[in-house]
Every structure is written in structure tokens, then in C-alpha cells.
């Protein structure tokens, strides 16, 4: 059956038109930010350089694409329309009127829609996994750097153990389908997801010890929200049914957190060892503040600059890790539209068709590039102060 095609110009126009919610949201966010950039602190300073603007724009673009993906994508990412198998970009679906803007893949699915939906998977897992890795790294790195001695040797030894593992071997061991029958991923998830609760609990406790009523309220909120998320993620038993995660996603999540938290640990430890020699820490010690108060309320806020930069870079790195997992077919479902899996599927057929490979490749690259540019601009700004 002969397919009809639209021209290259119409493809470009079509793609730009499909992204209309993103353009709208970008305009709403970016124009005021740019106008009031002088008053917006570190975020506003990003708009002073070309690198910073590009970074913010690219990151926001993918963020909004992920949020509005259901509206942007013309087709369902799993729908197969048989005649469209390996269709070239711009092919029109017979008797439907829709256009496969970037062509169809080997299973006759719309490449464009899959790329758009892929952003959703990446932008949910990568930032949350990074956030958890930050929590784990900070909670362990603070005492290691502050106390030094045995705690430091022990924790550093553990961190070096994980870092000495080649990432890919770690993934092959931790993210095999069989491992979901064992309690290992759940045990590790249970351990990792405890850290945010411990972190926030300690944060509020050290600061508001003298004001029991406020403390009680804050601890209650921490434990209720933390416990709710914990129940949903680890035991898959959220009483409200809002938070749920599939076992394979939990597995990926745990593996990514496990692989990237030692890096955070090392950075935090180094920063703390540097900062603890400052005068304000000595002043706090003289005042008789507890060690954890000093770590969480004196040292940590002063380490935020490098940590924010590292977080940006780390989200990009986590995206690359997710792509690696997808590329080796580990963890994610084989029909999942995420970019790594899409690259795996299409890179085997590059000899015959190149068009299904390019959209996920450029999507992944641009997102990581945006984050790297953002990190670079942030670093420049924090060095200026």
C-alpha cells in the first residue's frame, strides 16, 4: 500500500505546532523571569549569560514536554498501526488524517509520540533518584566529614567499594528480572527511603528542640508524609492509592540511587572537611551547639553552592545511566518508550532505517546538554560571589 507523505517544511511546522503547550508555558515562565531577573537572586543571574539562558530553556522545555506529553503526542506511544511499519518521516496515516511526523519504528509505532512520552519516564526517574542519592550522600557525608576518625574510615571504605564497581556490572547484578523474586531490591529501597525521613527529622529536631509545639507539628508532618511515601514506594501499600511504583521501576530506582550516592557522599565529605575549619563553626561549637545542629544548620547551608551545581550535573549523569539501562534492556519493559530503550531498538537497524534512531538520540543529548550548561552557568555565578 502506497503511503502519502507531507513535505519537510510541513514536518517542521507540524512539530513546532504540536509543542504549543510547551511554548506557551515557556513564555509564561521565562518572560517574567527575564524581566525581573535582577530581583530573583541566583536564578535571575542565570539569565545574564547565553549559556545560562540556553540551559534554562532546554531544561524547562523538556520539563514541560514531560508534563504535557499526553497533549503533545498525537498518538499513543504503544499503538501499532501496521501499515506504518518503518514509515519515513511525514507519512500520513491512511483514513485517519494523522501524520507520523518523525516516521514509524519497526513495530509501526509513532517515533515522535514515543520520544515525547519517553521524556516523562526520564524526567520522573532521573530527578527523584538524584534527590534520594543527595539525601543518602548528605546524611552519611556530614558525619563522615565532621567527625572523621572511625566513622569516616568505615563509610569511606563502603563508598569506595561501590565506586570501585564498574557501573555496568553493578547494573547487571542488581537489575536482572530474577532479582525481583528476592527481597534484595525491597530491602535496599527500605534502607534508602529511610534517609529522607531521618534527614528531615534531624533537621527539624536540632533547630526547634527548644519549641516543643512547633517541633511536634513538624515531626508529625515529616513522619506522616514520609511514612505515606515510604509505604507507597517500598511496600506498594499506599492507603490512598496515589503513590505506586512497579517492581521493575523500583528496581531501577534503587540501582541508580545506589550507584550515584557514593559520589555525593565523597563531595559532601570533602566540603564538610573544608568548611568545619571556618570561624563560624568554631563559634557555634563555643556556643555549645550539638554536632548535628552544626552539621545541618551551619555547615550544610554553606556547602549549597557546589551541591546545587553537582545536583544539576548528577541529574544529567543519572539520565545517561537510565539510558544505559535502557540500552542494555535492563529493568525497563521492552515496549517502554524511554529514550534508552528506543536507542537500543533502533540502533540495531541503522543499516536499513536511520530515522527511528535520531529523535531519542537528540532528545537525550539535548536534555543532558541543557543540564550541563545550567550547571556550568551556576558554577560561574557562584564563583563570582
Amino acid at each position: 500500500m502506497q503511503l502519502e507523505y507531507v513535505g519537510a517544511f510541513q514536518i517542521v511546522l507540524g512539530i513546532i505546532a504540536r509543542f504549543w503547550p510547551v511554548w506557551l508555558a515557556l513564555a509564561i515562565i521565562v518572560v517574567p523571569s527575564f524581566a525581573y531577573r535582577a530581583r530573583l537572586g541566583l536564578y535571575g543571574q542565570l539569565f545574564d549569560t547565553g549559556v545560562g539562558i540556553t540551559g534554562v530553556l532546554v531544561c524547562l522545555f523538556w520539563l514541560f514536554t514531560a508534563i504535557f506529553s499526553a497533549r503533545i503526542a498525537p498518538f499513543d506511544p504503544l499503538d501499532q498501526i501496521v501499515v506504518m511499519k518503518n514509515a519515513l518521516p511525514g507519512a500520513m496515516v491512511p483514513d485517519d488524517g494523522g501524520v507520523f511526523l518523525l516516521g514509524g519504528d519497526k513495530l509501526a509505532r509513532d517515533v515522535f509520540s514515543r520520544m515525547v512520552y519517553g521524556s516523562r519516564i526520564v524526567l520522573i526517574i532521573a530527578p527523584t533518584a538524584t534527590a534520594f542519592a543527595l539525601m543518602v550522600g548528605i546524611t552519611l557525608g556530614l558525619p563522615a566529614g565532621y567527625y572523621g576518625g572511625r566513622i569516616d574510615s568505615f563509610l569511606s571504605f563502603l563508598a569506595n567499594l561501590v565506586l570501585a564497581f564498574p557501573v555496568i556490572l553493578l547494573f547487571y547484578l542488581l537489575v536482572t528480572p530474577g532479582i525481583m523474586d528476592t527481597p534484595i531490591p525491597y530491602g535496599m529501597a527500605g534502607l534508602f527511603f529511610l534517609f529522607p525521613i531521618i534527614f528531615f527529622g534531624a533537621l527539624f529536631y536540632t533547630r526547634f528542640k527548644g519549641r516543643p509545639q512547633l517541633l511536634l507539628l513538624q515531626l508529625a508532618v515529616t513522619f506522616v508524609i514520609g511514612g505515606w511515601v515510604y509505604a507507597g514506594l517500598v511496600f506498594n501499600a499506599d492507603p490512598l492509592g496515589l503513590i505506586s511504583i512497579r517492581p521493575n521501576e523500583l528496581n531501577i530506582f534503587v540501582a541508580v540511587v545506589f550507584a550515584s550516592s557514593p559520589g555525593v557522599f565523597r563531595i559532601v565529605r570533602g566540603l564538610v572537611m573544608d568548611i568545619k575549619t571556618r570561624d563560624y563553626v568554631a563559634a557555634a561549637q563555643t556556643r555549645g551547639e550539638t554536632p548535628w545542629y552544626i552539621m545541618l544548620w551551619e555547615v550544610l547551608p554553606n556547602a549549597r553552592g557546589p551541591l546545587i551545581v553537582d545536583a544539576c550535573l548528577r541529574i544529567g549523569y543519572t539520565t545517561i545511566l537510565l539510558g544505559t539501562l535502557g540500552y542494555f534492556g535492563l529493568g525497563l519493559a521492552p515496549e517502554s518508550p524511554d529514550w534508552g530503550t528506543a536507542i537500543k531498538d533502533s540502533s540495531r537497524l541503522l543499516r536499513s532505517h536511520i530515522h527511528p534512531a535520531l529523535p531519542p538520540v537528540f532528545a537525550l543529548m539535548s536534555f543532558v546538554l541543557g543540564l550541563n550548561l545550567l550547571a556550568d552557568a551556576l558554577r560561574e555565578q557562584s564563583l563570582k560571589d
Binding site: 570501585a164 564498574p166 528480572p177 532479582i179 528476592t182 536507542i343 541503522l350 538520540v361
Partner: protein, 345 residues
């Protein structure tokens, strides 16, 4: 210095022991053993048959005994036929002993690959050689290019060259191997047709420009940006030093100052970075070898992991952990050696 190296070597041994124990534990999880039994028998083997096979080949011995056998501190037992009492080797295809002997890593026996039906050493070391070739060419291209970019960018901080080279190196750090591999294959193999999109022939017929450029390029590009940025940072720092100003003021040309005074001091930090790149390169090796079908270490690792080939996977992890730890040691020692200001305690 000697004591320092000795202590580090001790730490390395301990780390390797811990890591192999973890790997050993992971590959011996029940689902993985089932996978192994299934891959060794035909797919329709019943639960009892699998159990039988695992029992007969010694996979049901206590965990620590088996780990000890692998290390070489516990004797490996042959299969004893319960009726006749005759001893046969566990795996005939890699001449396992027929009487109990110590035969583990300490004795130089890496064990038996169930997937490739040969001794692990016979599979692993040729693969390492192949990967060594790849690594050599990657280093030969990556290191000079990235140092050049870094020095050029850091020479005059804030200039147009600096900005464009910095953006270029940020871009390369945002392209992991599976991304650059696809882009290069599309450009150079599918579109221009200059290069071969597969390195499978490099394994058989030897390495040449036509089949080896794409894997080398793909691997080199990800590390280039990172090393270049580190070199740039180090170069920028050196260029603000007093002795550079002195050299400029006494009338030396800019290029003379850069080459004679700045370069040597600026290249100390990148040395460490290059050494610490090896662990990252290991991941890259796996991706590139799978993508371009080059039968090296990474390819072997994936095959071993995919089939839960216990001894081969353990051998692979031992080798990779050894590489990572020894490059860390070399980078520490070399840093102290290159930079007299650093004294190793």
C-alpha cells in the same frame, strides 16, 4: 612512600575480597542459579531436573565452601557417582580435576565458563587483549586531543576560543557512547559510507582504519570533554600564578611562556583525571563493544552476565575491580611523584 604503597595494596586486597564476595552472593541467588540451570539444559527441563543438575555440579554446597573453592583455600571436589563411587570431572570441557585439589584464584585457576564451554582464562585473557588494543587507540586519540583543547582554552581565559572550546567540551560530556555511536554510524557509515559500522571483522581479520575508527571515535569523544575541562581549569589556575607574570614581564613571548613555563605545571592535574577515567572507560568499553560487535572484554562481560556464567562473571569483575583500584593507586603515587609539593603521608 614504600609503606604507603604497601598499605594501599593491603586495602586493595581487602576491597577485592569484599567485592568478589558480593558478586559471588549476587550470582548465586536462587533466580540466577535457575537461569544457569535452564541455560545449561534445554528450556523444558523440569524443576526436579534443574535441581538435580545444580546438586550434581556442586552448586548446592554451602556458600562459604564454594567461595573458598573459588579463591583456592578449600579443595574442589569432583563429582562422585553415588552408585559406582567413581569420580568424574565436574566440567569435562575445561579439564576439571578428578581428585580433590586446591584450585582457585590463588592457584591461578579462574574456573570454568559454562557459556563458552572452555576455561575462563582461555576466554578472558584474549578478550582482554582485544580490549587492550581498543583502549590503546582510544588513549592515543583522546589524550593528545583533549590536552590540546584544554590548553588552548585555558591559555586565555574568557576569550572567544575559550568560550567555544568550553561549549564544545560540555557538549561531548553530554553525549554518552550509545548516543555518539548512533550519530557517528549514521553520518560515517549510513550516509557517507566511509567507515564500517561494525567492528566484527576486527576480531577475525585484524584491526584496520575502516573497521576500527568508529568504535575508537565513539569511546574517545565522551572522555575528551571531561579531560579537556580539567586541563582548562588547571591551565587557568597556572596562568594566574606569579611566575607566569614574571616570565611575561621579563619579555618572553606568550607562546614561549605557555610552552616552557605553564604547560608542565598545568599537566599534573589532568594526569590524575586521565588515570581516574579508566573506570568510566570500562562502562564505555561494554557499550561500544556491544554496539559495534567487537569481541573484547565488555562483550564477554555482557555474555557472562546475560547467561549467569558464574566463574566468567567473577573473573570479569575481578579484572575490572583490579583495573579500577590499580589505576587509583597509580594516580596517587604518580601525582606525588610529579608534584613535589604533595607529600604522601
Amino acid at each position: 612512600m614504600f609503606i604507603f604503597v604497601l598499605r594501599r595494596l593491603g586495602g586493595m586486597m581487602l576491597t577485592m575480597l569484599c567485592l568478589t564476595l558480593v558478586v559471588f552472593f549476587m550470582v548465586n541467588l536462587e533466580p540466577n542459579l535457575t537461569k544457569l540451570a535452564l541455560s545449561q539444559m534445554d528450556m523444558r527441563a523440569s524443576r526436579a531436573d534443574q535441581e538435580n543438575w545444580l546438586e550434581r555440579n556442586g552448586y548446592r554446597q554451602p556458600f562459604l565452601v564454594r567461595y573458598g573453592q573459588w579463591i583456592g583455600v578449600v579443595k574442589k571436589q569432583p563429582i562422585i557417582n553415588p552408585e559406582t563411587g567413581a569420580a568424574t570431572a565436574r566440567f569435562s570441557f575445561c579439564d576439571d580435576p578428578t581428585e580433590p585439589v586446591y584450585s582457585g584464584i590463588l592457584q591461578g585457576d579462574f574456573g570454568c565458563s559454562t557459556k563458552f564451554r572452555t576455561r575462563v582464562a582461555d576466554k578472558l585473557f584474549p578478550a582482554l587483549g582485544a580490549t587492550g588494543t581498543l583502549m590503546f587507540w582510544v588513549m592515543v586519540t583522546m589524550v593528545p586531543i583533549s590536552l590540546l583543547i584544554g590548553v588552548l582554552a585555558g591559555m586565555r581565559e574568557g576569550s572567544r576560543t575559550d568560550r567555544s572550546l568550553s561549549v564544545a567540551s560540555i557538549t561531548t560530556t553530554a553525549t554518552p557512547e550509545y548516543v555518539s555511536g548512533v550519530i557517528f554510524t549514521v553520518i560515517f557509515a549510513s550516509w557517507l559510507g566511509w567507515l564500517n559500522g561494525s567492528a566484527a571483522s576486527a576480531t577475525r581479520a585484524g584491526v584496520n582504519f575502516y573497521n576500527f575508527t568508529l568504535p575508537v571515535m565513539t569511546m574517545a569523544i565522551y572522555g575528551t570533554g571531561y579531560i579537556a575541562r580539567m586541563t582548562r581549569a588547571s591551565m587557568v589556575e597556572v596562568m594566574t600564578q606569579q611566575y607566569i607574570r614574571t616570565a611575561r614581564l621579563k619579555g618572553l613571548s606568550f607562546s614561549g611562556v605557555v610552552i616552557k613555563h605553564a604547560l608542565r605545571n598545568a599537566l599534573i592535574a589532568p594526569f590524575t583525571v586521565i588515570m581516574l577515567q579508566f573506570p568510566w572507560l570500562l562502562t564505555g568499553v561494554v557499550i561500544v563493544e556491544v554496539m559495534f560487535r567487537y569481541q573484547g572484554f565488555g562483550f564477554t562481560l555482557v555474555e557472562a552476565a546475560g547467561n549467569n556464567d558464574i566463574d566468567l562473571l567473577l573473573g570479569c569483575s575481578l579484572v575490572s575491580v583490579f583495573v579500577v583500584l590499580s589505576t587509583q593507586l597509580i594516580s596517587d603515587v604518580g601525582y606525588a611523584y610529579l608534584n613535589p609539593r604533595i607529600r604522601v603521608q
